[in-house]
C-alpha cells in the first residue's frame, strides 16, 4: 500500500482485508490484561487535531501507546492558527522531531494530502473537512465483519445529513468495496447532488427502510435547522428519526457518534441490543493499531508481535 492513508481509495479490498486481519489480532491483545506490544518502541507518533474530537483522538492515542510508540498530541481546535500557512509551518516544525507518523484531523478537505507533501512521516487522515474519514470506515467495516462475518450482499442504508458527512463519504466507498449495496436516505436538502455517481442509491423517504440489513445513522447537527436545510427539528424527527417502530427484527444499527439522543436516533433504539455503537468505539483502537502497524511496520507477519 501507499505510505499514507489519506482516503479510503488508498486501499483496495485486499488492503482492507489485510488491515482488518491485523485488527483482529490486536483486538485479541486488547482482551489481555497487559495490552501492549512492542511493535513501535522508540518511534514517535504525532496526533495533530485541529478540530475537537473525543473518540478519534483518544483512540489514536491509545492505539499508538499500545504499540509502544512515543505519542505527542497537539490540539488547537477552533483556534485561529488553523490556516494553511501555519499548518505547513507546524508540520515542518514537528517533522524536525522525525516522527514515524502524523495523524491529522482538520476542518478542511485535502489537509491530510497537503501534510503528506510537507513531511517524510507517514500521514493518516483522521478526518479532513467533509471529505473523508478512512479509519472510521475501516472500523465500521471491522465491526460489521465481526458481527456478520462478511459484508458481501448486505443492504446498508446510510440515513441523515449526508451532505455534511465525511463518514458517509468514506463508508459509501468502503461498504461497496466490501460487497455491500448502499442506499443513502435523508432530507433532499442534505443529500448532495449527483450522489448516485458514487455507486449508491438515494431516496428522500424511509418508507423502504425495512429492506436494509444495516441502518447507519448520521449525526444531525442543530445548526442545520438555522441554515434552513430542514424546516424544524420536529419535522426532521417525524420523517427521519430512526426508532424502534421504524426498525424490523434482525436489522443492525450503527452511528459514528456522538449521538444526539432523541434527534436522529431515539433513546430506546440507542440502548437496544441491535445497536453496534459501543462495538464501533471498541473496534476503533484495534483498527487504528492495525493502520499504524500496516504503515510503519508493514508486511511481516503479525504473529511475530501479537
Amino acid at each position: 500500500m501507499s505510505c499514507h492513508l489519506i482516503t479510503i481509495d488508498d486501499l483496495d479490498r485486499a488492503g482492507i482485508e489485510r488491515i482488518l486481519a491485523r485488527a483482529q489480532s490486536f483486538a485479541e491483545v486488547s482482551g489481555r490484561e497487559i495490552k501492549k506490544v512492542p511493535a513501535l518502541k522508540g518511534r514517535t507518533v504525532v496526533n495533530l487535531f485541529y478540530e475537537s474530537s473525543t473518540r478519534t483522538s483518544s483512540s489514536f492515542e491509545l492505539a499508538a501507546k499500545r504499540l509502544s510508540a512515543d505519542v505527542v498530541s497537539i490540539r488547537s481546535a477552533g483556534s485561529a492558527v488553523d490556516k494553511g500557512e501555519s499548518l505547513r509551518d507546524t508540520v515542518q516544525t514537528l517533522s524536525a522531531y522525525d516522527p514515524a507518523a502524523i495523524v491529522i484531523r482538520s476542518p478542511y478537505a485535502g489537509a491530510a494530502q497537503q501534510v503528506a507533501g510537507w513531511t517524510d512521516a507517514a500521514v493518516i487522515n483522521a478526518g479532513d473537512g467533509k471529505h473523508e474519514h478512512p479509519t472510521q470506515a475501516l472500523l465500521d467495516v471491522f465491526t460489521l465483519k465481526q458481527r456478520l462475518g462478511t459484508l458481501d450482499g448486505l443492504n446498508i442504508w446510510i440515513v441523515g445529513d449526508v451532505l455534511h458527512s465525511r463518514v458517509a463519504r468514506s463508508d459509501i466507498h468502503a461498504f461497496q468495496r466490501m460487497g455491500a449495496k448502499v442506499t443513502v436516505a435523508g432530507p433532499p436538502t442534505l443529500i448532495p447532488r449527483d450522489i448516485e455517481a458514487l455507486g449508491c442509491a438515494a431516496t428522500a423517504s424511509l418508507q423502504d427502510l425495512h429492506e436494509a440489513d444495516v441502518v447507519y445513522v448520521l449525526r444531525m447537527q442543530n445548526e442545520r435547522m438555522h441554515e434552513a436545510y430542514v424546516p424544524s427539528l420536529r419535522e426532521y424527527i417525524q420523517r427521519y428519526q430512526v426508532n424502534l417502530p421504524r426498525l424490523r427484527a434482525g436489522q443492525l444499527l450503527m452511528h459514528p457518534g456522538p449521538v444526539n439522543r432523541g434527534v436522529e436516533l431515539s433513546a430506546d433504539a440507542i440502548d437496544s441490543d441491535v445497536a453496534l455503537i459501543g462495538a464501533q468505539v471498541k473496534s476503533g483502537v484495534a483498527v487504528r493499531m492495525a493502520v499504524l502497524y500496516d504503515l510503519l511496520v508493514g508486511a511481516p507477519a503479525l504473529q511475530a508481535v501479537a
Binding site: A109, A111, R193
Partner: protein, 456 residues
C-alpha cells in the same frame, strides 16, 4: 523616428524602439484579411512595410532576419480580462511582470480589472495606474474602472469622469452586482458615460460558500458546490435589464451550458450583449479538481464536461465572441492554504494560446483560424483597434512554433506568481516572438534577437 503608439488614447505603455525586422518564410494566418500562406514580412519603423512571397525579401542593413520556415505568424493576441494587481497587491503581480507575461504569451493588448487595493473607483486611482502603465507596461494596456464604489454594489462610481480619465469601461469583476436596481442605474448612466459594462455573473444566494462546481466531483470531495445556475440566472436577469435599457453589456468568463443558452437567447431577443470564455473553461473540467490542488480553484469554477462542450460550441458559433484569460495571479503562500481557504484564480497569459491549441485545435475540435480570430477579438468590444497583418498597419504580430512542445512551469514563469492551472502539463505551440504596437517585446531564447524581455 517616432515610436508607434498603441493607436488608441485609452491604451498605455512605455515607449519602445520601433522594430526593424524581417520574418522570412513564415506561414502567415490572419482570419480577417484572409491571408493564409507563407510570406516574408518586413517590419520597418514599427510598421508592416512589406508582405511578399516567401524567400523574396532581404533585410535592410542593420535589421535582423528571423528564419521562420515551418512556423506561424498571427496577428498578436488581445486579452480583455487580466488582473495586474496594481495598485496594492504587487506581491502577486505588477504592471511590469504582468505585461511581461502577456508578451511571453503573444499578446499585444491587455485590459486590466479594477479589483485592486484600493479599487480603481475614482479618477485619482485611475490616473496613478495609467501613469504607472506609461512607465512599465510592455504591451499596450487598458483599464476598466469599477461600477460601484469599492465594489460594494451600492453607490455608482463617477463613471463619466472615469471614462474621461481613460477607463475603457466598467466592471465589478470578482463580484456580481447583486442589486438589479443598482445595475439598472449603471446601465442608464452608460448613456452619459459610454463604455461597455462588463459583468461577473454569480448569484451569491446560490453560490453561497461554494468553492468548486456543484456536481459529482464536489459530492465526492465533500466541498461546497457552486451550481451552474448561480451564473446563468444572473446572465438572464442582466440581459433582460440591458435590453430594457438599450444598454451594452459584456458577460465575463462564461462557464456553464445554461449561461451560453441564456446569452444566445438574449442576443436573439435583441439585447446588445457579448461574452467571453477562458482557456481553462474551454479545456478543463471539475474532474481536474479531484486532487484538491488549489491551482485549479477559480471563480467561476471548472465545470462539467457538458458545460465545457457548450462553451466550446458557443465560441465556435460566435455566441461567445472572444477568448479572455482572467489571468489572476496569487502568491504561493496564499495558494498553499487548504483548498477551501485558498483564493480563487489561475494565471493564464503565458498558456492561453498553447492550451487551446493543444486541447482543441490539434485534436480537430476547433479550426486554427477560428481560434486566432477569437483570441484577437477581445479588444474590439471595448472599441480598441484589432491587430491586423497588412501593409502599413502597426506591427502587432506573434511568431509561434506549433511543433514545439513544452512543459508548463518547467522554465519558470514571467508572471510574478506561479498559480497556473496548467502547471506540469505538456503543451504544444510556443511563442517565439511578440511585436506589440511596433515594438519587439519578447523573443524567446535562441531566437538570436536582442530584446529587453528575453526570458527562459
Amino acid at each position: 523616428m517616432s515610436a508607434i503608439t498603441a493607436n488608441h488614447p485609452k491604451l498605455f505603455h512605455r515607449a519602445g524602439q520601433p522594430a526593424e525586422l524581417l520574418i522570412r518564410e513564415a506561414h502567415v494566418l490572419d482570419p480577417r484579411t484572409g491571408l493564409d500562406e507563407a510570406r516574408d514580412i518586413l517590419i520597418r519603423d514599427g510598421r508592416i512595410a512589406e508582405l511578399a512571397p516567401p524567400g523574396t525579401l532581404s533585410a535592410p542593413s542593420g535589421a535582423p532576419t528571423v528564419e521562420a520556415a515551418g512556423k506561424h505568424v498571427f496577428p498578436a493576441f488581445v486579452d480583455p480580462h487580466v488582473h495586474l494587481r496594481t495598485p496594492g497587491q504587487e506581491y502577486k503581480e505588477n504592471i511590469d511582470t504582468g505585461t511581461m507575461a502577456a508578451a511571453v504569451g503573444g499578446f499585444c493588448q491587455v485590459i486590466a480589472m479594477p479589483n485592486t487595493a484600493p479599487t480603481i473607483d475614482q479618477v485619482s486611482v485611475l490616473a496613478a495606474v495609467v501613469a504607472t502603465a506609461g512607465e512599465q507596461a510592455r504591451v499596450p494596456t487598458g483599464f476598466l474602472a469599477s461600477i460601484t464604489v469599492g465594489l460594494q454594489g451600492s453607490e455608482l462610481t463617477e463613471m463619466a469622469a472615469l471614462a474621461d480619465g481613460g477607463a475603457l469601461g466598467f466592471t465589478d469583476d470578482g463580484k456580481p452586482v447583486t442589486s438589479a436596481g443598482v445595475l439598472r442605474k449603471a446601465l442608464q448612466y452608460q448613456r452619459l458615460a459610454g463604455g461597455v459594462i462588463a459583468l461577473h455573473e454569480e448569484d451569491p444566494a446560490l453560490s453561497g460558500d461554494g468553492v468548486m462546481h456543484e456536481g459529482a466531483v464536489s459530492t465526492r470531495l465533500g466541498v461546497a458546490g457552486i451550481p451552474s445556475i448561480s451564473e446563468s440566472t444572473y446572465v438572464a436577469r442582466d440581459a433582460a435589464i440591458a435590453r430594457y435599457e438599450g444598454a451594452r453589456v459584456h458577460f465575463q468568463h462564461l462557464s456553464s451550458a445554461e449561461s451560453v443558452q441564456a446569452l444566445a437567447a438574449a442576443r436573439e431577443g435583441g439585447a446588445r450583449v457579448s461574452g467571453e470564455a477562458t482557456p481553462h473553461h474551454l479545456t478543463l473540467t471539475d474532474e481536474a479538481v479531484l486532487g484538491l490542488d488549489s491551482n485549479l480553484k477559480m471563480n467561476p469554477p471548472l465545470r462539467a464536461e457538458a458545460d465545457r462542450q457548450a462553451v466550446i460550441e458557443g465560441l465556435r458559433s460566435g455566441v461567445i465572441e472572444c477568448i479572455a484569460t482572467d489571468h489572476a495571479p496569487h502568491a504561493r503562500h496564499e495558494k498553499e492554504m487548504p483548498f477551501e481557504l485558498a483564493p480563487m484564480g489561475t494565471t493564464g497569459l503565458e498558456t492561453s494560446f498553447a492550451s487551446i491549441y493543444t486541447e482543441l485545435v490539434r485534436p480537430g475540435v476547433l479550426p486554427l483560424s477560428l481560434v486566432v480570430e477569437r483570441i484577437t477579438a477581445g479588444g474590439a468590444l471595448y472599441g480598441l483597434p484589432i491587430p491586423k497583418i497588412a501593409v502599413d498597419e502597426p506591427a502587432n504580430v506573434v511568431l509561434v512554433n506549433l511543433e514545439r512542445d513544452w512543459v508548463v512551469g518547467e522554465g519558470g514563469y514571467a508572471s510574478r506568481s506561479e498559480n497556473c492551472c496548467f502547471r506540469g502539463r505538456r503543451l504544444s505551440g510556443i511563442v517565439e516572438l511578440t511585436v506589440a504596437a511596433g515594438t519587439l517585446v519578447f523573443a524567446s531564447r535562441g531566437s538570436s534577437i536582442a530584446t529587453p524581455t528575453e526570458v527562459a
